[in-house]
Symmetry: C2
Subunit: 390 residues, 2 copies
């Protein structure tokens, strides 16, 4: 690999053409529909809009080829200097489908994604492709264990799929459901990376009556949902039972890093919950991976602190062996990975670079205590390792 430093995007979505067509055929959310607008001069234009949730603000959002066309993905990557993308289907995945349909579509979409990646350009001077993917499991109510395990097996055999993207509902009762135990076991065995991603947010009554567009559900609801899911997973003991599990958290872990000491304190005050866990809650952050999609350098530095301190919270230790800032940040940087959230957060004008990308790159560049070694790892080196690209 020599001195070429890669930029790898681990948080980038696609609605594969088969999935987009399926959404077009639907009459309730999630769906893609056409809307005609009449300009003041009388000209009529038609645009496609994606409605992800019922009662979504502003009648969903405009969508176009960036959501499904591979050429657009590659153009976006070229524009921003992104060498490799680990592409994942966007929410709501298959959550809304009956189990047999979900299973069939999952396997078809996994094959589609394999071909989307395997026929992508090869990176000059390296042996790997520009696109790899996270597959889909039919995680819906009534999904059978055998259906889930056979889809894990399918994904594991598709050479360009390196993981699985997963929402927070499991088979209906969340990720702390015992029914998922064989799934975690199989995932831990394969080494596939589980990309945990939000979709539902929290109950919309929390946002009140003011018109704030998508701001509150996106800025707050998404991270709250991820935080709740990963916390419930920690409390269920999954990481004690399956330390080999590799979970990548969207949006830098939501708010888990900032609430992890409070969480540890609440657990310590509840002997029954505490007795179920091998470690202080803060320890488990050292088992996780975090994308670097937090839009600020202070945020990234802090997330790396909480990963870096994790080892000092083994068992009943409570941080007595704490490290200095640079040591924590160095350790933490090893589990953080650049991402863009493309094609969401598009720029307001077409020619400009995507602010979301520019800001997330600047954030990495400016983290106090990270040298170029840590920055390069977060920008690409960690992804090459985690996904076994080299």
């Amino acid at each position: 690999m020599a001195t070429h430093r890669l930029l790898v995007d681990v948080h980038t979505h696609v609605y594969l053409p088969r999935y987009a067509s399926f959404l077009r055929s639907r009459t309730s959310a999630p769906r893609i529909f056409s809307r005609q607008t009449t300009a003041s001069n009388g000209s009529v234009t038609s645009e496609e809009r994606l409605l992800i949730l019922d009662n979504e603000p502003s009648g969903g959002r405009p969508v176009g080829p960036q959501y499904w066309d591979r050429e657009e993905k590659l153009k976006f990557m070229d524009k921003h200097g992104i060498d490799v993308s680990i592409v994942s289907s966007a929410n709501p995945w298959l959550d809304f489908l009956p189990a047999p349909t979900a299973h069939k579509l999952a396997e078809e979409l996994n094959e589609d994604l394999e071909s989307f990646c395997s026929t992508s350009p090869t990176l000059a001077q390296l042996q790997f492709k520009r696109l790899y993917g996270f597959g889909l499991l039919p995680l819906v109510p009534s999904a059978s264990t055998s259906s889930l395990l056979s889809t894990i097996d399918q994904i594991n055999k598709l050479p360009h799929l390196k993981g699985i993207i997963m929402g927070t509902k499991g088979v209906g009762k969340g990720l702390d459901d015992e029914a998922l135990e064989p799934v975690w076991e199989a995932l831990a065995k394969t080494g596939l990376v589980v990309f945990l991603h939000p979709h539902y947010g929290v109950d919309g009554s929390a946002w009140g009556e003011k018109e704030n567009g998508h701001v509150l559900p996106l800025a707050l609801g998404f991270p709250f949902e991820t935080t709740t899911a990963i916390t419930r997973l920690i409390l269920s003991g999954v990481f004690d039972r399956h330390p080999a599990l590799r979970i990548l958290l969207a949006h830098s872990g939501g708010t888990l890093p900032l609430l992890s000491s409070r969480l540890a304190s609440c657990i310590a005050h509840d002997p029954i919950v505490a007795s179920r866990l091998k470690h202080d809650a803060r320890h488990y952050l050292g088992d996780l991976y975090f994308d670097a999609v937090a839009y600020g350098s202070e945020e990234l530095g802090f997330v790396s602190d909480t990963i870096g301190r994790a080892a000092s919270f083994e068992g009943t230790q409570r941080g007595s062996q704490s490290l200095g800032l640079e040591a924590k940040r160095k350790i933490g940087s090893g589990r953080m990975l650049f991402g863009t959230d493309h094609p969401f957060f598009p720029p307001l004008s077409e020619s400009e670079k995507w602010m979301s990308v520019v800001e997330n790159l600047e954030a990495i560049e400016r983290v106090d205590g990270w040298t170029d070694v840590e920055k390069d790892a977060v920008r690409g080196g960690n992804a090459v390792q985690l996904f076994g690209l080299s």
Copy 2:
């Protein structure tokens, strides 16, 4: 004041005797009730329990004199070296009452709290008392503006009440309700500190079906609620209209600090919301105060980073003038204040010091980049200034 360094607790609650009696008279939540338990040897003991919310896990929590007895508060302070406490009523305050009852009880409890503080011991060698208080407003549906304003006036005239504790519901529609505009205006004029504190968390279905005691609603739900309330307040433009408003956020601002860059990004992608605000969302964190109740030094350091960077996000600036870590942390420390959350999170055995106190003090002691000057400010100096104690 010379060299004596004060330890001031700004997050410490009381159920005043009048309020506790009132809760005992109730038959639905919130209420205090007696429960008898029979030990294996046949002896019967009775304990009082506080049920704050319907369907609360474990049938509420045991309560005793620490919740209402001033001597217990002072003993707790002595045991932990706390010189001064700014005492606030605990949730759910008056939220559940009809407006006339809420108004009457608010004024009575404000008088009670004034006397609770004014007759407390005087601190040796200083001119001030060991106890000060946050009063209550009758913030319930149908509360009239005049009732709210007259209670602000009452509190402002009670010399030992230095602020107001406030939940997140306002008069029923949350804190971004235009009906509250005269309240913010009056509060900004008086200089009373508004202590914003959660109670409801988020919809309980988020916590799933597993038995996790109070862990999820307390560790996650509380901070989510505070974050949502303060974010809605920022989006409503209250801080643009009333820059003199002094708001202290419970639990170090919940998750606002970690989501503030994501929030700024979501706003920047929504021109309508963006056009309503004078500044990048991150700027407003520099107008707020944060208790230091986060249980970890990395958390406190990070919160101080986000306060310290606020000035570089004035207007449409996006952090281009960013400061180094120590500069940010020094600035940020000026708006953070020690707290304990007493009498919640009691120790598991009676003799020991309260872990919640020990941990929050250790967290301050260990923040990377804070010298003794910053630590002393957070432990007490900031509170003396903010509440005008000297």
